[in-house]
Symmetry: C2
Subunit: 303 residues, 2 copies
């Protein structure tokens, strides 16, 4: 949004730090499963076995849910805080757990995978492996099905955005460690109609801000934008990951998560994070220097 603000209001905004800005995640510029592919890669990079166990687990859940008292058995297997209403509820909650682990680096993927891998050695039972991972993260707490890391306002606000102006075609496929859940615009549109009485404008972002061939556009038009992305953040798949010009700069951090560079310095920041923030400050300082140089020139001319 910072990048778009700079593009549309260069007379108001001198420059933008567009952190984790997936400006290419529209109109199928990138594959719709790119988001879930990054999460899968994050897990695979830590442990191929962990990735494979998760990938196998979905059909296992489906299978168990069809048994007698299947949902109760599943609820017990995952220590859910209340009994499951459907297997989809569990699958969607677990998918969310993996996404949040990657996107915000909230639950360390190495911790999750360590538990999965250890359990795998003992039993080769995918569901037991996942239970072990949840226990490692949540301790003796039950696994809440109704918890979200977002406030209700954030959740509803973002949901409304995706139903109106910011339609991101996010869908998972068999190529990822997730269960197939393709994005189908017509279905999505119907759900928006039910929830908010609106139909999403799927091509608005592209026609208003551009997107197709955005690199071509930005190279000769636009300036003063830092596109920063943490590469473990699944949204980085829709980000600008290469410099487009001297003042349209891409910064990448291998270990960075979503908006990793926007948090205040903690004192515990790793060296790579300290370095990238310093780089950003240096770039913005150079923009300001140019600005005041230009301004000085104009003032001198007026005298």
């Amino acid at each position: 949004m910072a990048a778009w603000m700079r593009l549309k209001y260069p007379h108001v905004v001198l420059g933008a730090l567009a952190s984790s800005a997936p400006i290419l995640y529209f109109d199928h510029i990138i594959p719709q499963d790119a988001f879930y592919a990054v999460v899968s890669k994050d897990f695979k990079d830590v442990s191929q076995n962990c990735h494979d166990v998760i990938k196998k687990s979905w059909s296992e859940m489906d299978r168990l849910s069809l048994e007698k008292n299947g949902l109760l058995l599943l609820s017990q297997a995952f220590n859910t805080c209340r009994e499951l209403k459907s297997v989809e509820e569990l699958k969607s909650r677990l998918a969310d757990f993996y996404v949040v682990a990657a996107q915000y680096d909230l639950y360390p993927i190495p911790d999750i995978c360590k538990s999965v891998d250890q359990a795998w050695k003992q039993s080769n039972n995918t569901l037991k492996c996942l239970r072990a991972a949840l226990d490692a993260i949540f301790g003796t707490d039950c696994f809440s099905l109704d918890y979200s890391i977002y406030s209700h306002e954030t959740e509803e606000g973002w949901d409304w955005q995706t139903c109106s102006e910011m339609v991101m075609p996010l869908g998972s496929s068999n190529e990822t460690m997730f269960y197939p859940n393709p994005f189908i615009l017509a279905n999505f549109s119907d759900s928006c109609m039910r929830k908010y009485g609106v139909r999403p404008k799927a091509d608005w972002i592209i026609s208003y801000f551009g997107g197709q061939d955005i690199k071509l556009v930005l190279k000769r038009f636009g300036s003063n934008i830092i596109f920063s992305n943490g590469l473990i953040d699944p949204y980085s798949s829709g980000g600008v990951l290469e410099d487009l010009s001297d003042t349209l700069v891409a910064l990448k951090a291998q270990q960075g998560s979503h908006c990793f560079d926007l948090y205040p310095a903690s004192g515990n920041d790793p060296e790579w994070l300290v370095k990238i923030k310093a780089e950003e400050v240096k770039i913005v300082a150079a923009w300001l220097e140019d600005y005041y140089k230009d301004l000085g020139g104009l003032i001198l001319k007026k005298v």
Copy 2:
């Protein structure tokens, strides 16, 4: 508008030829009488006496209108096609005549001033001088009070624009050869309310497209715009008259009128006009060359 289109939709519009684009005629970036000052200069450059006679004529009309049968006398003096309803009607029609002469080079100012100056030598009567000028232009035709060079649609369309989004504070002052007629936003707003039931958004252009310090903004942001202005066009007062960067170029023509470079070649085009059009084609060709070069690079990368 072409410049604004390029600024807001660089992904749709590769470049713009912004001919006679008064993008600085908003929010009092330039003096409100700048428009009328250019018309006055156009007349003064041809003949100081002609300019002075016109400047003196307004009070003469006011004086005569107050005499017994004053409006009838004025109507006869100017050979109007019907009797005048007020002196303001005549003053406003004459002001329009001078503006149109300058803006569109529709009535040659040298012809107008030649008649004024010749008549002045014979009588020193300002109104007789102006009548001589009208006769020179319109021959034996009466002077229509209800004529406009614009179609009704154009007139109404533009009027609506100025009452909604494009509020240009155009007012004449004593510094010009016109009678003082300052632009007062409150009065203008009331007239818009009466005519269209709307109040103008006087600061919309500036906040949406920029304007204040636009040179500062465009120098570091924006590309591929030709700002062309004919300097006898009064709107050139609100135009960009100097290069801002390599691809934000100002072209000026001393003798050019409003949108002088947008008409098809006539075969009678003077040399300076042929030259300026060729320059424009050359610049646009270079933009296209850059574009295809960039495009080629991208295609090569994809392969």
